[in-house]
Amino acid sequence: MTAPQAELFDLPVELAIDTAVARRVIAQFIQGQLRQAGFERLVLGLSGGIDSALVAFLSTEAIGAERLLCVLMPYRTSSEASLVDARSVVDALGCASEVVEISPMVDAYFAADPDATPLRRGNFMARQRMAVLYDRSVTWGGLVVGTGNKTESLIGYTTLFGDSACAFNPIGDLYKSQVRQVSLDIGVPEAIIRKAPSADLWPGQTDEAEAGFSYPALDRLLFWRIDKRRSVDEVVALGFDRALVERIDRMVAGAEFKRQVPPIAKLGPRTAGVDYLYPRRRPGSTRG
């Protein structure tokens, strides 16, 4: 028996979406991406958190569990609960899975640099996981599917070329609140929906404690500022704290570089991304 949504999380009314339509769009998006690239399989990093769990469910819905590989990549400080939750997703879906410990790789690098900050270590772990996924992309013969949500992308709570690296991202336009809504609808285990979101880079870390705001409030603010183009004064009139609004604005602006392809110095007649503009997947781009 699934608990009702209100018992599990707070869903701001303006963020509520039609989950059936969302699942339909995402399923055909995944199928379309694979078809255009000439791939049939997907690989993703399953952390035990809600974002990657949802993508695993959506991928299974789109292409079937037998074509999905979930890679669990714990570090020695990762919480045991994360691994348990990740396994519960694999069990629920019946997809292939593999555990790749990243501790030896990460520790080998930092052995010579024991004073490295948690931020550096966290970023390195995220990039190490990316490296593993892209290696498994070859062995499994599948595209790496992204698991970042819209909220973290907007405020820049991602590691460049780390957790944000992927071939395509089916949930990158869903706010965290909407990720929860779709997760509940598609059957992500309740324990995963219920727990506090965390990057799990060190024990006890949670997104909300680290950032100082709640996801529902942040999602609402981003929705009104960005999707609905409301000015700072207008969102303050909606009840948001001006200092918070200005702080989030700065985070969003400061993370612009993480959301875009790096600029290339314009020198020749046609330059990728400037005046050489092709669909990412086009005739001739499929494998084989």
Binding site: A20, R24, V25
Partner: protein, 361 residues
């Protein structure tokens, strides 16, 4: 004249991006299927032969109207009407998003998309030229047809002019990207709700059939939502195809419904195009700075509608120095006086004063 019943087939397909020959084969197959099913009109979506998000591929998949591949498709339309869409390259190498009416083996009519959305997620004007011509076309179906492509229908004049020009069936072919998934929308998709409202309204206001064929499938980030429809001249939806589902959907209509509706509700009879032309001529002159704009600030320069806070010594630059409006010098139209007077009158007075001054020089 008695019009036989008509079976319309909506080809709600998912074109492959940039793969002309594959898409052409799909068109051929579906034309044959529709014919076997007794269809008299088959409608394919916008850029059904090429896919939508082409960017620089546009020039690579463009075809001229004398392209043998188009002729081969037309050859499949013996005793059949079909609307297909592709990138058309003109003799002078402009690229248009085109929809063509193919009938009895021939290309009977070509409509070049008039309105190219270049905002939000759209970037069409960067890659395409806009058409300049809108014409209803006669057809073997016994009624005039009006072809339009997607964004054309977001401009009121398009359905109105097509109906006035003799169309009794408006055919819009689209590649409409689905977005705005808010749960408050009727069908869970803002785009679909907007389109459904539009085409019911157009059918009713033009007392014409509206046939809407929208593609499905995915190009890069965007998903097309389908939901193709046939709307009766009364505004009633006769058929709505499923969202996001590929398929060839048949709808039977009675073209005689147009006559019934137009006798009952003679909106088109009561249209006043000559009046609309007069007003449009005036509005165009005002926007072009060739006539006084009654809704502009009193002393705004012609062609601009906002005046600077204070009257300038020199005009902003839209008129020669001698003809400038320098009312402050002659006292007759001091800002205070102008504010007290009706704005339009004040401007006229300034014009008169300036004309007199010019004559003196």
């Amino acid at each position: 004249m008695t019009l036989p019943p008509l079976r319309i087939a909506l080809a709600q397909i998912a074109p492959r991006l940039g793969l002309f020959d594959e898409n052409l084969a799909v068109h051929r197959d579906l034309l044959r299927q529709a014919r076997a099913d007794g269809a008299g009109l088959v409608v394919f979506p916008e850029l059904g032969l090429t896919g939508y998000l082409l960017q620089d591929l546009a020039s690579e998949v463009a075809i001229r109207l004398d392209d043998p591949r188009l002729a081969s498709l037309a050859a499949e339309t013996d005793g059949l009407s079909a609307v297909v869409s592709f990138v058309e390259e003109s003799g002078d190498h402009r690229l248009f998003i085109a929809a063509a009416l193919l009938e009895d083996g021939e290309i009977r009519h070509v409509h070049r998309k008039l309105f190219l959305p270049t905002y939000g997620l759209f970037d069409e004007r960067r890659f395409f030229a806009a058409g300049d011509v809108l014409r209803a076309t006669p057809s073997r179906l016994g009624v005039g047809l009006g072809l339009a492509v997607c964004e054309d229908f977001w401009h009121l004049a398009v359905p109105e002019l097509l109906a006035l020009d003799g169309a009794q069936m408006l055919i819009n072919v689209s590649s409409s990207p689905g977005r705005d998934l808010a749960a408050t929308n009727e069908v869970g998709l803002g785009t679909a709700t907007s389109w459904q409202t539009l085409i019911r309204t157009y059918a009713q206001l033009t007392t014409s059939f509206v046939v809407f064929c929208n593609r499905v499938g995915v190009d890069e980030s965007i998903s097309f939502w389908g939901g193709s429809e046939v709307i009766a001249p009364s505004g009633e939806a006769l058929f709505t195809a499923p969202l996001f589902e590929e398929g060839l959907f048949s709808v039977d209509v009675s073209l005689a419904d147009v006559r019934r509706e137009r006798v009952t509700l003679p909106l088109l009879r009561d249209e006043r195009p000559e009046w609309a032309v007069r007003e449009l001529t005036r509005i165009v002159a005002e926007r072009g700075g060739l006539a006084h704009d009654s809704t502009a600030d009193g002393w705004a320069e012609p062609g601009l509608d906002v005046a600077p806070g204070e009257r300038l010594e020199r005009p902003i630059g839209f008129r020669p120095k001698d003809a400038r409006r320098d009312g402050a010098e002659d006292g007759a139209a001091e800002p205070a006086a102008a504010a007290a007077a009706d704005a339009a009158d004040a401007a006229d007075a300034a014009d008169a004063a300036k004309a007199a001054k010019a004559a003196e020089r």
